[in-house]
């Protein structure tokens, strides 16, 4: 194996935008492979081909399996486009796959595809020729409808690609093809998952964490940095902004009755996120909020919170059950970090009985005596920036 073949699917639907999406995807593939030596990327016939050192194939595959927009990836042998060479390469691939997983010995089939129609054999003829050779050499039977092993052959004009291992990639749209957003990231289970889901639909984000020193310790902050780095592996976020929220929390706490506190905090978070979004030229805010998960997350409260935002607020988890969120968190690897038992700013300053229906009038009344815009500006100005 001397290359990785990457497949993408959904982009074909976006006929008019296709070149733009493809360019973005190639850029993201290149960024994912940063740091690996001698990587060369081509995009022939609706595929992305990554040539890299054989020793880096596994690492390359692992990284490409985290690139949104890719549907699947395969380690491939790039060989000269003549049938003898292709046959030999296919046999080597098949043997390697069988050695790795003897369960594949049940049955096989060949999937040949020919983008260069000048090649002297049709796809069907290639399949028959190579299939026969593998059948004879391995003694395994052909099963066209549900084979255990699939050996793929793609013939182009300058080279042919042979593989026997197709690994699923996350699908979705290339990150940043849908624009930029600011992700409100806490140390919990939900917000990393919300960011991941938003990135899957092509949003590139910068993360914003509200820290409350001195009541919240450095370990809580470190935990958020860890989560942001995990998200960065999927290109979900590039930068983490850490702002100090303590003073504003105190002022908001004193400004209104205790049950309103959560809504007041979250409205202020929206304002700060908008200010950060101004700097990053982002068009949306993304939160891990959910409908009804905790007492304060009612439709009424979400509306009152959103009224403080200037941008559209996306809540990818709004309809998720906690168990569904946890499934995604485990898949993307943030769950074990999210459940580390450190307080975050949300859990500490939450009153015992938060309001489930904070009326906008009451909230505005509580904010009346504060210069909320100046407070938000001060918080945003405290931002410490971490490149991930």
């Amino acid at each position: 194996m001397n290359a990785i073949l990457c497949r993408y699917g959904e982009l074909f639907l976006k006929a008019g935008n296709r070149p733009r999406f493809e360019r973005r995807l190639v850029d993201n593939v290149r960024r994912a492979l940063q740091g690996l030596p001698s990587v060369r990327i081509d995009s022939p016939h609706g595929r992305i081909l990554v040539r890299l050192a054989e020793a880096d194939i596994d690492e390359g595959l692992a990284r490409l399996e985290r690139v949104f927009g890719l549907v699947s990836v395969s380690p491939v042998a790039e060989v000269a486009p003549d049938i003898d060479t292709i046959r030999a390469a296919a046999l080597t691939c098949a043997n390697a796959a069988l050695a790795r997983d003897p369960g594949l010995r049940r049955s096989f089939r060949i999937e040949a595809r020919r983008s260069d129609k000048r090649f002297p054999m049709s796809s069907y003829e290639i399949s028959c020729d190579v299939g026969k050779a593998i059948e004879v050499a391995t003694g395994i039977g052909v099963n066209l409808t549900s084979p255990a092993l699939v050996v793929g052959i793609e013939v182009g004009s300058k080279a042919a690609y042979v593989y026997a291992d197709i690994r699923p990639a996350p699908g979705g749209l290339p990150v940043e093809s849908s624009g930029r957003a600011v992700l409100l990231l806490s140390g919990g289970i939900d917000s990393p998952v919300a960011g991941w889901l938003a990135a899957k639909r092509g949003l590139a984000m910068d993360a914003l964490y509200f820290h409350s020193p001195p009541f919240i310790g450095e370990k809580s902050r470190d935990k958020v940095v860890t989560l942001a780095r995990m998200l960065a592996r999927w290109q979900v976020v590039r930068t983490l902004y850490v702002v100090s929220f303590t003073d504003v929390q105190k002022k908001l706490r004193e400004a209104g009755p205790a049950p309103l506190a959560v809504v007041l905090y979250r409205r202020m978070m929206m304002r700060v996120a908008d200010l950060i979004a101004d700097q990053t030229h982002a068009d949306a805010l993304v939160t891990g909020e959910n409908l009804g998960q905790v007492a304060s997350q009612t439709i009424g409260n979400l509306a009152t919170i959103e009224a403080a935002a200037r941008r559209i607020v996306l809540r990818p988890l709004v309809t998720y059950d906690k168990t569904e969120t946890i499934v995604v968190a485990k898949k993307l690897g943030t769950f074990d970090t999210s459940i580390l038992p450190f307080e975050d700013c949300c859990s500490l300053f939450v009153p015992a009985h938060p309001s489930t229906a904070a009326r906008l009038g009451d909230v505005l009344d509580a904010e009346k005596n504060l210069d909320v815009a100046a407070l938000a500006t001060a918080v945003a100005a405290s931002a410490e920036t971490l490149l991930l």
Partner: protein
Amino acid sequence: MIYLDNAASSRPAPEVLAAMNEAARTLFANPSSAHRLGAAAARALQTARAQVAALLRGEPDEIVFTSGGTEADAMGILGAAGVARGRHAVITAIEHPAVLRSAELLSTRGWEVTQVAPGANGVMAVADVLAAARPDTALLGVMLVNNELGTLQPVAEIAQALRAAKRAPHFHVDAVQAAGYVAFSAKALGADTIAISGHKIAGPKGAGALWVKAGTRLAPLWDGGRQERGLRSGTENVPGWVGLGCAAFAAAQWGPHIPRVAALRDRLEQGLVKALPDARPTVTGAARAPHVTSITLPRLPAEPVLHALEARDVFASAGSACASRTRGPSHVLRAVGVDDDAAVLRFSLSTDTTEADIDAAVTALTDAVQEIRSALGTRKSR
């Protein structure tokens, strides 16, 4: 910096660091090697062994070096279980996880494990432990000083009562928090194995020891080159154990400082109770080690209090009720009946702690609590 978290880990003494540095630099040969460099390393270990033995008032050849307190506890519990005839173990409900989890492991191997609860003062009653010991009890684990409360357990009395009742289980004592601060003699304690750790006594991490009474049989936890009398295979941690020996030598001289440490602890408790009227010692009426105190602050979250304290350059631990809302009180605090919504803080002193440290810590905690209360609003009014 006012460091009052010595029961978690202590600052290594300069002479310990110097000894370790020297050992790592010059005694790099394998103590098992036949040449004179190997002999020098082996001699250094013998010196360290004698130093640790002196601290415990045992014999050098009764000391088995380990990677720390947890390994020493595992060796004492699991090693004894490996050669035991019975299949019943008794431990206290307030043991360190190193002992608790070793006992849990035994219960997955067909052992029956009885946990004995302490009194409300955090001290085991001799009669309760004795009542749990049956004729087929093969193993007993009682710690000398509880790590969360600082309470001193009646280990020698339990050993005596066992002898009087003609019960002879293997008796393992976790003395990790006692070493240096509580004078005891390994033999007089009546134990069969005693565990200690380097980094609790101004020594290094990754170094501990198990005192094994002469004639006591233990099964090794793993096998290999059969170092440490075959009980602990693996090339010896020469710098770590030299450092442990050095720390043990120093800790053996702590006696004259102990009354002062105890007085500072009392000053801390009295100062806090005076400054914060609802603060109180978590347990009262108990014999205690001189360097640890546990303070309960009703209706406060422990972790933010610790961080507010940290902002004032005072370092302590949650002890660990409601350290976070996602965690309940620890097994020890549950056993002595602490309220779920109280902050329990553990302050642990060292022989270097001064009166000025204590007074500054009292002021810092008073301010920190006030800051939290004003930030949170008074929880009572909710």
